[in-house]
Symmetry: C2
Subunit: 176 residues, 2 copies
C-alpha cells in the first residue's frame, strides 16, 4: 500500500478552519501556529490546490474579484473527506495527533475524545516498550557507562512518554 499523503488534508483543514483562504495565506500559516507541526513551501501548495479542485474538494471563490489573490472554499464533498481523515485511526508511525487536534474546533466533537483515547493507547504501549528495552539494554551499570549518551536519551524518552500519558489522562477527564 502506498503511504498516505498528509498535505492535502492539512490544506483542507486550514481552508475549513478559516472558511476561505488563498494559496499565499496558506503558505504564511506554516510560518505560524501550524508550523509547529508541519511545513510546506508555496511550490508544493499551489499545484496541490489545483489537484484538490479537480478532485472536487475545494472550489475557487468567484465572488471575490481580486486581481492578486485567488481564494478557495471547501465543498460539501471536501468537508466529508476532511471528517473521514480526522476519523481514521491514528498510527504510532506518523504521529498525526497534534495535527488532527488542530483542526477540531468544537470542544464537544466526538472526534476529540476519540483522538485522545487512541493516542493514550499508543503512548502507553510505547512506554512499556521503552521500559523493557531499558531493562534489556542497560541491565547493569557498566552498560550505562559504556553508552552514556544512549542511556540519557532512553531515560529522557521514558520520562517524556510518562508526562504525555499523564497529560492525555487529565485531558480525557476534563472532556468527560
Amino acid at each position: 500500500m502506498p503511504k498516505k499523503r498528509v498535505l492535502p488534508y492539512i490544506l483542507l483543514g486550514l481552508i475549513n478552519n478559516q472558511t476561505k483562504m488563498s494559496g499565499y495565506q496558506i503558505s504564511q500559516e506554516f510560518n505560524h501556529e501550524i508550523g509547529e507541526f508541519w511545513h510546506a513551501s508555496h511550490s508544493q501548495i499551489y499545484p496541490e490546490l489545483q489537484r484538490m479542485i479537480s478532485d472536487g474538494w475545494i472550489e475557487p471563490d468567484d465572488a471575490v474579484k481580486d486581481s492578486k489573490s485567488i481564494f478557495y472554499l471547501i465543498t460539501p464533498n471536501g468537508k466529508n473527506v476532511l471528517k473521514e481523515w480526522l476519523s481514521e485511526p491514528l498510527s504510532e508511525k506518523d504521529d498525526l495527533f497534534s495535527l488532527k487536534l488542530y483542526f477540531i474546533k468544537d470542544q464537544d466533537s466526538p472526534l476529540l475524545k476519540n483522538l485522545v483515547q487512541q493516542q493514550l493507547q499508543i503512548n502507553s504501549e510505547h512506554y512499556l516498550h521503552l521500559l523493557s528495552r531499558k531493562k534489556l539494554v542497560f541491565s547493569d551499570e557498566s552498560k550505562v557507562r559504556d553508552n552514556y549518551g544512549h542511556s540519557l536519551i532512553l531515560n529522557r524518552a521514558i520520562e517524556r512518554e510518562h508526562n504525555h500519558i499523564n497529560w492525555l489522562k487529565n485531558t480525557l477527564d476534563d472532556l468527560k
Copy 2:
C-alpha cells in the same frame, strides 16, 4: 545552501559505536534503539555505504572473509568527520539532539555538556515563543472555545517544553 544530509553521519556513528558493521546489521539497527529517532531502508543504506567508501570515511574489512556479509570499518578520516558533525551547532529546525547524544559513548566527553547546553538554549527560546503565541492567539476564553483543539495542543506543547527544559537542567547539573 543545500540541506545537510543526516543519513551518512548516522551510518558513520553506528559503525563507530560497534567498531565493525555490515549493511544488513545497520538496517536491523533501525528496528531497535536508533529506530526511535531515525529510519532508513536497506535500499538507501547500501548505496550510501558505497559513497562513504569513495569518500574515504569507511573501508571494507578484508580480514573477514564471510561469503555473505560485507563488514565496514571507520577510517581515521571518518572519525574526524563524525566528530565534526557532532560538534556542529544544533539547529531548532531539524532536532538532532537525541540522535547525536546516541553516538556519544563517554560520560566525560565535552561534546555531551555542549549538546545539552545548546538544546537548553533552543528549548528556552521556544518555550518563551509558545507563551507569547498563547497570549496573542488565546487572549480571551471565547477564542479558546472557538478553537478548542488548537488550544489543547498549544498548552500541551508548552508543558512539554517546560518538562524538557527541567530535564536538560537536571542533566547538566549531573554532568558537572
